[in-house]
Symmetry: C2
DNA sequence: ATAATCTATTCAAACGTTTGAAATCAAGTT
DNA sequence: AACTTGATTTCAAACGTTTGAATAGATTAT
């Protein structure tokens, strides 16, 4: 009793139970300004009844009426990539004080899902959308629909400012240079490199930073020791790629004392491959990665890597989104800004001076 | 032009543009049965206009009217625990063909967030809720509200059937026994054990299985070699716990040839701790874990572990949820079932016969 | 010629809220 | 006796959609 067909308790259930109008009940329970004028006793009675019946306002009805959904769509390209998780946490954290909620969807690297979820986010009237980098993103024609419906977008992990989209990303060039200089400072001169797949936008600038830093240090790469991961790699396949390339490095006969891998999982694959061949890390060969994901931290030896401040990037994206929302409410014009955050070198035990443990 | 204050294109925008009523437009765009009677030419015109204006139906208005939200709330206790991610993927996969969407929230092990998000899920009128195990869950009084509002629940990762909640979990007892028997079959007799925290429901049955299998094999644990993780450990702290206990094992002076850790991150911590003390894994000591999370797979040596079929568990939970929804639509009574799935031993290189590499 | 059937479209009410405007009533002021 | 004031509560419309019932016109069957 006290419940309608839908199974949910509504304002009118409470109104009936209290012999009051729906308006009064709404005013009290939504703590509208008018509730100052509602008699204390009435207020108490309404609140007690609401609690007793287990009332929770219907977000659908409320949002429809208020024309605000308090929702930000978050489109992650692949939640099983440990890269995504901290970014999402950062977004949630930023959203929290603003009383917004994230509507998180996981495209699982699939074009079809990406479109489907994008549409869903639009239908659920997210007030804004944060996209965590995905190559698929560029191609979708839903982008046009987003604009037609005036929904602001922020992207994390790549630069789409030329498409007039506010972008948050790490300075890959600086990161590449940092890790290269680290190896140089340890005294490595013969370094194998595994570049990222063409399709990933991080690949080019990271490689650029590496090359520049190497040139500055007077280091030349042996072409037998430069590898490139294939496209469409999921997070597991970059591990396998690293392992495979490790074997090829050894087979090539070229001398090397360190391996600079595109990302941490690749680096972990290299460690596996070299270890299987009997080498000791870092005694016989140093291995460094990029990203600082959880497995890099908990593996032994810990992988020296470049930390992207992922959580902070998520928070920054949220902040920018909230700004954009305020501006669009005030009908101000929006500018698509570019926000480049600086990465940080995290030295662990997978890197050491060449040719010696204790040295 | 063609857009209202809210910024979103509505049916009436399209109706106006086509000189038709909102009803007709709705009938066509929602592909209602009546659309058979709408002239082909009209239909085409409406669809073209909708596409041109970038129309997407308002899920809020639609759900309000249809009294169906096509939403299942998914409450994960901590997305940064690698345990959660595959379960969530499995849920999404199960939901997909049923045309449902998940509303995923991350409680980050915080009671406050848990309540907040639970309330949010209720307000967003999720038709059902899947909870990924959390101790907080038991305490919340929102559980009563869920029942008052007739929202079915399924829980993954623990048994709450006595609370009349359908539960999906792994057979921890069997898993504990499996991993213990594995060490026994390799010939280990002196085994250090790190038990899970009291607060985690997995701890007791897992320990029970271990003890039973040990007893069957005639193995007794040295009390100096039995440790227990503290409560409230986040995923990172179980790593630190493992590392710490590894040192204590060595300091205790007791002899041991293998360590059986509560979960994979603890095992990785043990590997770190033992390695730092100069031991080689698995030559000097075997280390085994539980869960089969990503880091256990990509570390070197790979951690021998018990795989929980997490993805499958997520899919099963979804299936049970969809069943429950059908039953509640048909007004059938619901039974709270218990579904125990079997874990699987995954042998990697962190375990070997005691006291030797090649043997 | 009337009724029945079919086609193509529209009306109007409803979903559960919110909110500006209005109503009611008591008490105080002119 | 009429008027203001203030406190408390209610009316009614709106948000964007769906849908049972109604309409108008054309065709066919009796």
């Amino acid at each position: 009793m006290g419940q309608r067909e839908s199974g949910h308790v509504t304002l009118s259930d409470i109104a009936r139970a209290c012999h009051l109008s729906v308006s009064t009940v709404s005013i009290v329970l939504s703590e509208a300004p008018l509730s100052r004028h509602v008699a204390e006793s009435t207020r108490k009675r309404i609140q007690a009844t609401a609690r007793r019946l287990g009332y929770h306002p219907d977000a659908y009805a409320r949002s429809l009426r208020r024309r605000r959904t308090q929702t930000i769509g978050v489109l992650a390209y692949d939640m099983s990539d440990p890269f995504c998780v901290p970014v999402v946490s950062g977004i949630d954290e930023g959203l929290q004080p603003a009383q917004y909620f994230s509507l998180l969807v996981n495209a699982q690297m699939q074009r079809r899902l990406f479109d489907k979820y994008f549409r869903m986010i639009l239908e659920r009237r997210a007030e804004g959308v944060i996209v965590i980098a995905s190559w698929v993103f560029e191609e979708t024609d839903l982008l046009a629909d987003i604009e037609k419906n005036h929904v602001p977008i922020v992207i994390v992990g790549r630069d789409l400012t030329q498409r007039r989209i506010t972008s948050v990303l790490v300075d890959n060039r600086a990161g590449g240079a940092l890790v290269m200089r680290h190896l140089d400072s340890l005294g490595h001169r013969h370094i194998a490199v595994i570049r990222g797949p063409d399709e990933m936008f991080d690949s080019a600038p990271r490689w650029e930073g590496i090359r520049q830093a190497a040139a500055d240090a007077g280091i030349r790469f042996d072409s037998r020791l430069v590898f490139q991961l294939p496209n469409l790699s999921d997070s597991k396949s970059s591990f396998e790629g690293g392992r495979q390339f490790a074997k090829e490095m050894l087979a090539s006969g070229a001398e090397f004392t360190a391996v600079l891998a595109f990302d941490d999982l690749t680096a972990l694959g290299v460690v596996r491959g070299l270890t299987e061949a009997g080498l000791r890390i870092p005694k016989d060969c140093s291995v460094v990665g990029f990203d600082d994901v959880l497995p890099a931290d908990v593996a032994t030896p810990g992988i020296t890597t470049i930390r992207q401040p992922l959580r902070e990037m998520g928070m920054l994206a949220t902040e920018l989104m909230l700004q954009a929302l305020q501006q669009s409410q005030a009908n101000e014009t929006q500018e698509a800004g570019l926000y480049v955050v600086q990465p940080e070198l995290v030295v662990r035990t997978s890197s050491a001076a060449p040719g010696g443990g204790g040295e």
